[in-house]
């Protein structure tokens, strides 16, 4: 056990770091209540009028709907592909198994701007017009790894013999999956899916290149900040996004702790959050 002083020092340092993480977020929420559209300091008047402006803004609503649709589609694709790939890697030995895990990781390990320009020029060459689907393709590609990492971590803790035992008892493959595997995997799938959803929701760098004229919430914020007209309205939307994003993160965390021992669960959270968070900044 660490000495008392070391422990206290570490505690103080940790609290300071967490506060450091939250100061800019607090500033966003503060400015959401700024009556003026100019973000000077100090804030002269407070008001809630921008909340109503944002609520009634059709562009914001459309952007919310589009972001939601894209996130759902990307998550669905990522769940299917990520789970399939993780089964392949966890349960089979084959030539190139390490390459597959490497391949899955590349989309988040490479800078997002490269993924973005590569996809955009491919779409241009193939003559594919920009739409919800082009955005979804970009998102799904790096969401695969999140589901992959979650499911594979769970699969590695499960014994393969349980599947064999189920089959010995007369169940076919589908029944085994439904009654034996799926309940074990369910929380990993949901956690991975939630994080994939949250990432797609907030992704901006690749989206800038694959959206064409379509506007998701992050794109709306990006163009809004650059053209400056809707300064405080953006703060409102951003504040709402921050608060909303607490939900999937908290749920994912609850789902991973409580199964298995605490340490493995915490490691799960650390891993999946680290991987998951990468995309929100468009790695």
């Amino acid at each position: 056990m660490e000495s008392r002083t070391t422990g206290s020092l570490l505690r103080i340092w940790s609290i300071l770091v967490v506060l450091f993480l939250y100061v800019p977020l607090a500033v966003i929420v503060l400015y959401a209540f700024n009556r003026s559209n100019v973000q000077t300091w100090p804030i002269e008047h407070f008001s809630t009028r921008w909340f109503s402006v944002a609520w009634h803004d059709q562009e914001v609503r459309d952007a919310f709907v589009l972001s939601f649709k894209v996130a759902c589609a990307a998550t669905a694709v990522a769940l299917v592909l990520g789970t399939a790939a993780s089964f392949a890697v966890a349960r089979y030995r084959f030539f190139g198994v390490n390459s597959v895990s490497f391949l899955v990781v590349i989309p988040i390990a490479l800078p997002g701007v490269i993924t973005g320009i590569a996809l955009q020029s491919s779409f241009a060459v193939a003559g594919i017009p920009f739409s919800l689907w082009t955005i979804m393709i970009g998102h799904a590609t790096f969401c695969i790894v999140i589901v992959f990492n979650n499911v594979i971590a769970r699969l590695r803790r499960m014994q393969p013999s349980i599947e064999d035992a189920s089959m010995d008892l007369g169940a076919n493959g589908l029944q085994t999956f439904r009654y034996v595997l799926f309940p074990e995997l369910r929380s990993a799938l949901v956690a991975g899916g939630l994080l994939a959803f949250a990432l797609s929701w907030d992704e901006v760098i690749v989206t800038i290149f694959t959206a064409g004229g379509n506007t998701t919430i992050p794109i709306w914020i990006w163009t809004g900040l650059r053209t400056g007209g809707s300064g405080s309205e953006i703060n409102v939307v951003a504040a709402v996004v921050v608060v909303l994003s607490i939900v999937p993160v908290y749920c994912a965390q609850r789902l991973t702790t409580g199964t298995g021992d605490g340490r493995a669960a915490a490691e799960d959270l650390g891993t999946l959050a680290a991987v998951g968070g990468a995309q929100s900044s468009g790695v």
Partner: protein, 370 residues
Amino acid sequence: MKKRIAVIALATAALLATSVAATAKPASKKLSGTLKVVAWEGYTENQWVKPFEKQTGCTVQHQYAGSSDEMYNLMKKNAGYDLVSASGDASNRLIASGLVQPIDPSTIPNWKQLTPQLVKGPNHYVDGKYYGLPWQWGPNVLMWNTAKYSGATNSWSALYDPKNKGKITIPNNPIQIADAALYLSKTKPALGIKDPYELNSAQLHAAVLLLKQQRPLIKAYWGFATDEVKIFQTGGATLGAAWPLAVAQLTRAGMKVSQTIPKEGATGWSDVWMLAKHPKNQPCAEAWLKYAAGAKVQAEVAKFNTYTPANLQSCKALGATLCKQLHADGDTAYLNRIKFWKTPLSDCGNGKNECAPYSEWVQAWTSIKG
């Protein structure tokens, strides 16, 4: 049998009657759908867009661009834009790339009211066809915060003066090289710069050198007019190259700013609306063109941005003082003083191909910013 024939005859008559009635309705132009527009800031404000939407039934969706490069890029991205408000350094590229289609002046009622020079302007009048509807034009001015800056303002040299280090902001746009070239054409006549957009390599080199010397003095580069507004309001700049829109916005926000065209002259832009080659909503696009040619509409836009409208009749709607201030009364002398943006091409127009094309300007700009 007779009854059936009677019913059929009645139905046919009713059908004919309604269809005749429908076509005989006065042209109330109830169109529908979304009109997607690429525009400079300040061109699609609600005060004139909402009446258009009400009148026609079209919904306007705008996408702002901060530079002609962005506009060109947006139009080529196959993203379904119908219209673009292009300046001269994008319009010719758009025409050459086949991204826009000619406009038929006979469909625009107010065509005759537009400033003749702009109507036949080389930025859109190519091969006898009109590719653009002249909209607004204006200079790139020198703007300063009258409360915080008290130095000289009659010359662009203020932007190159080390005394003003850390207080200057200029556009993040390779076309700025033309501004430096224009300044040099007056301060270093030996270089022989006649057209700031047609620079041979020695002239380009000189302009780049000047901008590199200016680099340490810059507080920040602005991309959108509202960027510049922010940089003035909270960013610490007190002096800069600006569009009159920024002056208008800062004044509306309560800051005391002033603008001028320094003695060396100014670059500027003449913007035209262009119709995409394959618009998604052609009827709405054409309706917008008709609407945008109107004197009242152009006057409103001019007032908001403090730009100059292309429609000479707008002068009345602006009122005598504003009309004079904006030179909206057909002041051809003023118009001729402004060196409007155009795409630098390697073809200098004198048979030689020694001028630097735009791609070299872009590389040079990266080099300048470091």
